[in-house]
């Protein structure tokens, strides 16, 4: 059977990652599976695990009181769900719901935070991979905010 380390190594997020770092991360990882409609996490929950999607689709939702949740992004194969685990107070600021059957690798956040503190090379590698994703998402949000398609 394929080890978690092999699966992680093939995920685009870890492209070019050192083998030793891969082993450290794999030590915090587990396989997870979400049925269509199941929540990976909800707003306010402790951000104690984030996810690398292997197959499927996950919707990021924000709740407006008195209204149905608004989906503002979907993420798919090769993408990463969740960044709040990086920053105190380590609580989710949005909800993530599987739109279809989704298989992912869950990474224990406290475990990985501890390893990043202990080995700043690993921490820096993780940051170098997370930051571009966050910047891309910020850019995308800006474009969404401009609401370019309608009558202005």
């Amino acid at each position: 059977m394929e080890s978690l380390e092999d699966i992680l190594g093939r995920h685009p997020f870890f492209a070019g990652f050192e083998a030793a770092h891969g082993r450290l991360v794999a030590g915090c990882a587990r396989n997870v599976r979400f049925a269509a409609g199941q929540y990976l996490f909800r707003e306010g929950d402790p951000a104690d695990e984030f996810f690398l999607i292997r197959h499927g689709k996950v919707a990021l939702e924000l709740i407006e009181p008195g209204r149905p949740p608004v989906v503002f992004a979907t993420l798919g194969e090769g993408e990463i769900v969740g960044a709040s685990w990086l920053l105190p107070p380590y609580r989710w600021r949005l909800a993530a719901r599987a739109v279809e059957l989704t298989r992912a690798i869950g990474i224990d956040a406290a475990c990985l935070r501890g390893k990043c503190e202990a080995d700043h090379h690993l921490g820096y590698e993780m940051m170098k991979r997370f930051l571009p994703i966050l910047v891309e998402r910020l850019q995308a949000t800006r474009l969404q905010l401009l609401d370019v398609y309608g009558k202005r």
């Binding site: 939702e61 608004v70 798919g76 995308a140 398609y149 309608g150 009558k151």
Partner: protein
Amino acid sequence: MAAPDPFLPQPWRVERRRRELIGAVTLELAPLAGERPDFLPGQFNMLYVFGVGEVAISLSGDAERGTAFVHTVRNVGAVSGALTRLEVGASIGVRGPFGSGWPLAEAEGADVLLVAGGLGLAPLRPAVYALLARRERYGRVVIMVGSRSPEDILYRRELEHWRRRSDLEVLLTVDHADADWRGHVGVVPALIPHAGLDPVETLALVCGPEVMMRFTANALLAAGIRPERIHLSMERNMKCAVAQCGHCQFGPFFVCREGPVLRYDRIAGILAVPEI
């Protein structure tokens, strides 16, 4: 028959009118005299609502079929609003077709990626018909469409029909949706890294609001597509449409003559200059 004076609107009649979205309609126009001139996918006409004014509107129908000019118009102001309110039987003035078309000959042998934002799908639709008419000449054909919400997707039924074809890949994304929407949510450039494009083989045709096209071009470059393989359809204000008045000037180009379809490498330097 001598070609009509390009400055002189010819009388055409609204044959059919279909409401597409809130504030957007498709008009089919028939000539009151003679036949519909040929046009290339990507070209536009000047439509004149008598007593109101004239605006540039892309051709959105099949260049190789039918006898009408098909135009999809969104109400954003006086003239486009009057166009969307025209009833069947009304007459309007038409000049055109004008401008350059999509580089479909250059696309032969290549994979073709079409990226549309909002009403930008209208000028790309004739290109889709042309690609399908000679499907065997092209590699993969991928259509990406971004809209504000599921209710704002233009030509939705036709897109669904295309999606069921095995020789087209259609990816829809919306800026936001409720939980019932099962498709993608997010901006259209975010789809590009996941399409598995072969950067050397792909030629990209992009149409939408300028800011969306800039983001899309950046994502295409990041995916390894060369700037000279990216083509954008620019919508700049038109007046004469025959390279006389300078209204549509965009750096060294007159969009009415060299455009509206322009190669990205030729315009990249001026695309983000606010004064141009």
